[in-house]
């Protein structure tokens, strides 16, 4: 089993490595092979909205940079974890840059899912999605928004299961570990 952490921390802000370390340890304990990508260390350009990943090189973004490797890792994982500072209730631009480039992983064609139109899957299997948002200062509206956004992404991405949790920068390691444990069990991770 494989898991991938996409760390969307901003290079000049507080580090989220404390969180990724806890996730890594817990998942290793459950027998997962785990990879963490710190996105600001990678060369990832912005999506140019050309749909070349559907109509020129189907399934592969036409921009040749590290986003191709990220997409390959994502689709070959059983669980992906979006780790990000909560940014206006959503994701940081660092994380979002990588996600915008992942539409290569779905089909251009449409289907009806959860009562509304979404793109059909390209692949047989998609990873479960965990969203972890970190606040410097807690905001209730933004916490709800974050949860909804992760759910919307899970629908768009055909994730078999999803879960999310927000944290505030000052939480203790034990608290964080407890909550992440519960998140992982929501997407089917067990330690037996």
């Amino acid at each position: 089993m494989k898991a991938l952490i996409l760390n969307g921390e901003r290079s000049f802000e507080y580090s989220l490595s404390k969180f990724s370390k806890i996730i890594e340890d817990l998942l290793k304990g459950a027998g997962y092979q785990i990879k963490t990508i710190i996105l600001h260390e990678k060369n990832i350009g912005n999506c140019i909205g050309c749909f070349g990943c559907w109509l020129k090189k189907p399934g592969i973004c036409i921009i040749e940079d590290d986003a191709q490797e990220v997409a390959r890792e994502v689709i070959n994982s059983d669980i992906i974890i979006y780790l990000t500072p909560v940014t206006f209730g959503g994701y940081s631009s660092q994380l979002k840059k990588a996600l915008d480039r992942n539409i290569s992983l779905i089909s251009p064609f449409f289907g009806t899912y959860h009562g509304e139109v979404h793109h059909r899957p390209r692949y047989k299997k998609y990873p479960s999605l965990i969203g972890i948002g970190v606040f410097s200062e807690y905001n209730k509206d933004q916490a709800e928004l974050f949860t909804n956004l992760v759910e919307r992404n899970a629908y768009n991405f055909h994730s078999p299961s999803h879960a999310s949790q927000v944290f505030t920068a000052g939480e203790s390691l034990q608290e964080i570990e407890l909550k992440i444990n519960s998140l992982l069990s929501k997407v089917g991770v067990n330690y037996e």
């Binding site: 090189k57 206006f88 996600l99 915008d100 909804n148 919307r152």
Partner: protein
């Protein structure tokens, strides 16, 4: 009367002038220019991201109204748009600029305008953090029907879009605090009444696009497994 009033259009689509985001923004800007407003337009991907920070920040600070138009990308704002909002927020202490207002218009590729709800909520949260008054947002589904055409040339299919934008223009001219609910409803009304019709047209355009590039037989490829 409106001579000292200044509106800034920020276009958040990488498609630039041929995008739906630009068409929607231009319609409002053109109407306000006729009314004597000073209008400025910046494309986020091609101009803001590469311009020097000082000049950009001055342009932002000078605007009485910021009109942000963008496409929905993965249920949210495109990365460069988020990056621009981060930039504005990071350098602004709340209440530093008085009486500034934000209106956002988001369009998406799926037929239901409701996909855009969370992206607009993100814009509202940005406004709060940056000390900007949130006038509200409009949300368009089936964004592909505009496809860079001037809104005034869309004909019947664009009636509700024009109605919505006219109401927004009026609320700006009248210095209202919020855009009218009616404008939100007009914009959210599907331009094509049947979802299947829109998705069929879109699917045919994917097929033609792939055919043109000689990759139709590969359109369902799974290169990464």
């Amino acid at each position: 009367m409106n001579k000292s009033r200044n509106i800034l259009l920020l276009v958040g689509s990488p498609g630039g002038a041929s995008s739906t985001s630009a068409s929607l923004g231009h319609y409002i800007l053109d109407q306000l220019a006729v009314q004597g407003f000073v209008t400025t337009e910046l494309n986020i991907q091609s101009e803001v991201q590469s311009s020097d920070l000082q000049t950009f920040c001055k342009t932002i600070d000078d605007a009485e109204i910021i009109l942000l138009t963008f496409p929905l990308y993965v249920d949210s704002l495109p990365a460069p748009v988020i990056n621009t909002l981060e930039l504005i927020r990071d350098r602004r202490v709340k209440s530093q600029v008085n009486n500034q207002k934000l209106i956002a218009i988001v369009n998406c590729g799926f037929p239901e305008a409701s996909h855009n709800e969370w992206a607009l909520a993100i814009c509202e949260q940005f406004a709060q953090e940056a000390g900007i008054h949130w006038m509200g947002g409009l949300s368009l589904g089936m964004g592909g029907v505009v496809h860079g055409k001037p809104v005034s040339e869309l004909g019947g299919i664009g009636t509700n879009i024009v109605n919505a934008l006219d109401l927004v223009v009026e609320s700006i001219v009248q210095k209202e605090d919020k855009i009218p609910e009616e404008a939100i409803e007009y914009m959210a009304t599907p331009p094509i009444p049947y979802k299947w019709m829109y998705t069929s047209i879109a699917s045919i355009s994917w097929i033609f696009g792939a055919l043109k590039n000689k990759v139709l037989t590969k359109i369902g490829s799974k290169p990464f497994v």
